[in-house]
Symmetry: C2
Subunit: 187 residues, 2 copies
């Protein structure tokens, strides 16, 4: 039932119906269910819409928990996968753009998707700081932007640039080790 | 004369005239000049508009040329200043948003402003790689995203986050030195 409703919304989006014209009534008609059925599961159009996006996005990453590097690579690799899906799926790409110009939908997506991902990333960084894998004086909020920033710039702001395999590993290693030449330790 | 025309456009924007309705004719009327005067200086509305934005933005940075760190700090500090201006000026903020939804104006801004800034940053990074200030194996395009990414994420994508003084220095030092704990060299 839930599946049919989510697919109904996707069908309407594929037909080019703009987000602003997607009413619960229209979704109910397309999915062949009553409006009450939709309202039993979702409190409103915004929440329903966020679930449609989540169903189209790659799943959230499983963190291996073996090291700071492995966890960060898993987090950034999942951002890269989302970037690739959003580039290859014209509908998803369009949906992101529409979402950002609708404050209510964006707020719902932010609360349901972005905040939990940030919490996950902060847990990883905090644990690493306690373990001694991360410098003790590093501000965690800034550290998070250091890892996430380069991937976001590429996937969101510069759609003409590649998102090659191995990019997550490259970014994580560059941020952890720094860009200065390695000093000889044989002094 | 040029000044009067740029101020005329700014005045119309302040009055809330959307970019799409800003015709050369209307600008000419507001500035009290003939259309031919405008066309002698600008090939079209897009080029004129880009100059209006540039006049409202902080000037491009002067690079000290003393070290990789100093040059990168100057580049990032100028991004921070632009971020602060765009946050404090409601008009400029609105203009950026409108610009991004107008492909022709965005292309003109990209060619006139963003490309030269990228060229400048690449010159700095290339020189540092030749000097040995930057690891020889680092891909310069990715290195650029490593410095620019965290500042862009903060100034553009997360308007609720601070852009404190010293942020440029912090980012540059973190990227250059890495986030791993410093290993004792007294081994």
């Amino acid at each position: 039932m839930e599946r049919a409703i989510l697919e109904g919304v996707m069908k309407l989006l594929e037909e080019g119906v703009p987000l602003a014209e997607l009413s619960i009534e229209r979704v109910a008609r397309t999915a062949g269910v009553g409006k009450a059925t939709i309202y039993r599961r979702w409190s409103g159009k915004e929440e329903l819409f966020v679930d449609v996006i989540r169903a189209a996005e790659p799943p959230d990453p499983e963190l291996p928990g073996t090291s700071l590097r492995d966890d960060l690579v898993a987090l950034l690799e999942s951002m890269r996968q989302r970037g690739l899906v959003s580039r290859s799926s014209l509908i998803l790409h369009d949906v992101y753009a529409q979402m950002k110009s609708s404050p209510k939908v964006w707020a719902a997506y932010h609360a349901a998707v972005i905040v939990p991902r940030r919490v996950l990333a902060f847990d990883v960084l905090r644990r690493a700081q306690q373990n001694g894998e991360l410098r003790p004086d590093v501000d965690l909020e800034l550290a998070n932007d250091m890892f996430v920033g380069p991937m976001l710039v590429r996937s969101v702001m510069r759609p003409e640039v590649d998102l090659p395999e191995g990019l997550a590993e490259q970014i994580v290693d560059m941020v952890l080790e720094g860009l200065r030449p390695v000093r000889s330790t044989a002094s």
